[in-house]
């Protein structure tokens, strides 16, 4: 009984809120013509965001795997250093990391590619989150599985490859998909080093036209087009890796 009441309540609240928001947004008086000269810029910004997201996704998985390996290596120094890295990166603002990464660190080594530095900083940031997700997934594989793998004579590497990773993958998929969506949206902070990505283009369009909502509303569509497929893919993979009943 209380379950039905709760689900009805939740449905009503969500529907009402959603309808209200859509109505308010839709009934606003827009000046789309003001945005006309900026569509091309927005599209190219979206392309940049797509490119940086895809590259950062791959690179952040690499960073995450390395950090996880370091933490689970069984050696104290790398485990400690990876731990410090993860805590520090997760505990400080991305905005500051991007600024320091580009204007101080990259500058000190003479690297001036805004796109390149942005990509690396973003990957290092997201990799820290991913490594915690991966570590949790690996540690959630029960001890009995490790024991069984040892008993049948698998090496450590074989145990990871054939027993632990396939089971961990399914467990980390939902959280990883969430982190990937965050990564895509976090790339909008790269405006501080003038990477001409999607949000940066919207900011410029707004600054020139004062058509704030016209400039920023496309971001909703643009970012959703990037994040939603990840969500779909994650669900599909989850189903594929499902083995419990």
């Amino acid at each position: 009984m209380w379950k039905t009441t709760l689900s009805v309540f939740v449905s009503v609240v969500l529907l009402a809120t959603f309808s209200f928001v859509v109505w308010v947004v839709a009934s606003h008086d827009y000046r789309w013509e003001a945005l006309a000269p900026y569509w091309k810029n927005l599209l190219s910004g979206w392309g940049t965001t797509l490119l940086i997201s895809v590259l950062a996704l791959v690179l952040s998985v690499l960073v995450g795997v390395l950090l996880t390996a370091g933490q689970l290596s069984g050696h104290r120094l790398p485990a400690f250093l990876c731990r410090v890295y993860v805590e520090f990166i997760r505990g400080t603002p991305l905005l500051t990391q991007i600024l320091i990464g580009y204007y101080l660190v990259a500058d000190a080594v003479g690297w001036h590619s805004r796109f390149g530095v942005g990509l690396v900083v973003l990957s290092c940031f997201s990799g820290a989150y991913l490594s915690e997700i991966f570590r949790g997934g690996i540690e959630s594989v029960p001890a009995s599985q490790w024991l069984s793998a040892r008993a049948i004579g698998l090496t450590g590497a074989q145990t990871y490859r054939f027993v632990v990773v396939p089971q961990a993958v399914r467990r980390v998929l939902p959280a990883s998909a969430g982190q990937f969506a965050n990564l895509i949206k976090d790339s909008s902070l790269l405006f501080v080093i003038s990477v001409h990505e999607f949000t940066m283009q919207a900011r410029e369009a707004n600054a020139n036209t004062y058509a704030t909502f016209e400039a920023y509303l496309p971001l909703i569509v643009g970012y959703f087009l990037l994040t939603f497929p990840i969500s779909l893919l994650s669900r599909r993979l989850e189903r594929r890796y499902r083995y419990e009943h």
Binding site: I152, G153, L154, F162, Q167, Y243, H245
Partner: protein, 244 residues
């Protein structure tokens, strides 16, 4: 199979799981049963015999060969033997067939085709031919143990080590698994098992060791230990467990 154990100890922190064990059995012993109260050291002794744990001191020799103490040597040792635990032996993401094929291919270097053929053969023999394509979650506890036993037997293990293989099963499933183990023992498979199934130990084992608090309280033939126990501990234990 000859087993010689000298001064064997294994501690976990302050717990003395194995506390100075000496045992010797000759070739006549094909099936050795470890019995005694839970926490008495049965599992630890099995793991030491199978190279899954390293002792703190003392030595174990099987057929004259010492159980290695280094990881690589132990892995080779584990590959020669077959292990079956109480439960959760199988890998849940793999089918029954793949569970058996994996160690044959990856640990023993068989070709995939040969491994599949061998897996089918063993599973047929165990009466589980219909279940090859199923994942562990689709099998009953008894079926899971029989597939796990097929995996432990597929490469022809020198020694089969069974750690309370039926403790997690209901009586009917227990019988399914014990029938199979008995059949293997009768066919000459050299086996060491820890068990709470006193009837099985008495009927199938050539020798029985009673372990308690990490020490051997009594050992001998099944008839000696069950028929005329000498120590009060064993008498009290058997009195309790045989009563029902």
């Amino acid at each position: 199979m000859s087993i010689e154990i000298e001064g064997l100890t294994k501690h976990y922190g302050s717990t003395r799981a194995i506390d100075g064990i000496d045992l010797a059995f000759g070739d006549a012993v094909k099936v050795l049963a470890l019995i005694g109260p839970s926490g008495g050291g049965k599992s630890t002794l099995l793991r030491l015999l199978g190279g899954l744990e390293t002792s703190d001191s003392g030595s174990v020799r099987i057929d004259g060969a010492a159980v290695p103490r280094d990881e690589e040597g132990q892995r080779a040792w584990r590959r020669r033997n077959g292990f079956l635990f109480q439960s959760f032996n199988l890998f849940p993401h793999l089918t029954a067939l793949e569970n058996i094929v994996l160690p044959l291919v990856e640990a023993h270097g068989w070709t995939r085709d040969a491994a599949r053929a061998r897996a089918r053969e063993v599973v047929e023999r165990f009466g589980m031919g219909d279940h090859l394509a199923k994942r562990p979650a689709e099998l009953s506890g008894g079926q899971q143990q029989r597939i796990a036993l097929a995996r432990a037997m597929a490469h022809g293990p020198a020694l089969l080590l069974l750690d309370e293989p039926t403790s997690a099963l209901d009586p009917e499933r227990k019988a399914e698994v014990l029938d199979l183990v008995e059949e293997l023992c009768r066919a000459g498979q050299r086996t060491v098992l820890s068990t709470h199934e006193m009837g099985f130990a008495r009927g199938s084992a050539d020798a029985v060791v009673f372990l308690s608090a990490g020490k051997v309280v009594e050992s001998g033939t099944a008839e000696e230990v069950f028929g005329a126990p000498k120590s009060e501990t064993v008498k009290a234990f058997l009195g309790k467990v045989m009563r029902w």
